[in-house]
Amino acid sequence: MSADNDSPDLEALFDSVAASVHSVASPPASAPAAAPSAVSPETGDNNDLQALFDSVVAEVRHGAEPASAGSVAGEGGDWPAQENVFNRIGQMARQLHTTLHDLGYDNILKNTVSALPDAKDRLAYIATLTEQAACRVLNATDVAQPAMEALEGAAKSLGARWDKVFANQMTTDEFRNLAEETRAYLNGGLPGKTSIVNAQLMEIMMAQDFQDLTGQVIKKVVALAQDLENGLMSALLEVVPQNKRSEVPSLMNGPVVNTEGRSDVVVNQQQVDDLLDSLGF
């Protein structure tokens, strides 16, 4: 079942989110165990989220009892603060649960997770088609370029000899040869090469047929990605505190897809050059 291919990654992501939440909450409980299974496609989110919520609530109640608070009893004054944390986590889990449910995100997430392996295949299909097209075009130019170079060379050489004719620097025999060679070039050499180049131009045109196929597939994958992004964003906005929402800095982001309204990126080579100049490089 291909659905299994993706879930470990997603589970790892959710695990890490769950782990960071629990590291704040500190006491290891049965709650973390419930978190990874929350994304398993076949069980659905509701039950697991409910279980997580319940266990957190239970932990809060349990923890509130003096007996189990032994480890922190030495600093009894800290306890209300910890209880606060538990309460907040419980509230967040509850909120997340109801938000996802109310907005239908639980279903969207479930559907999206099950659609991911399909998306992976589709993206692989796009990669294959575009690579094939690029190779076809490069092969075509490899064939056409020597033909064009031969044409250019022959035309230049004939042209230079015709210049001699007009400069009265050619004997009658030489002129006869030139006329015959020119005729042969116009009748044979030239159309022979242009037909080769034309065939390659046609090949380049036909290599663009991937656009139609990949375009359709890309639209589907983009729709899927948007569903997933919306669902995950809503989920994360519920649980990630405001001060933890900064972007992770990285120097390997690939092409900037949308430069509008961004001042941290360049949009052309001129801006690269200007930036380097301004810095004295």
Binding site: L251, M252, V265, V266, L275, L276
Partner: protein, 125 residues
Amino acid sequence: MRILVVDDFSTMRRIVRNLLKELGFTNIDEAEDGAIALQKLNTETFEFVITDWNMPNMDGLTLLQTVRSTPTLKHLPVLMITAEAKKENIIAAAQAGASGYIVKPFTAATLSEKLNKIFEKMAAA
């Protein structure tokens, strides 16, 4: 002049190779990531390196930094051709000692201009 073209996509290596051929450079070898490039640079002789940034195993910036910190290679001109368009990328590359920085997509004219600029600097040095 022997040039090493480093990019993880074979089509991009082929395009750069074709553009270089057009500019009169025919002695070209290719590497598909920074690690392979470094291996080639250490065992063969090259006069110029053109590298992508984002590659598996070893990225272009690490390759550049390694080249600059290797006594036998540190004077080698390294031109970066990359899709990374953030200002901090360009600054990081310049600080690491890149000889030039070209953002993708790029034109044959841009490549030619940057190569000439680097050659001029090399001749002046």
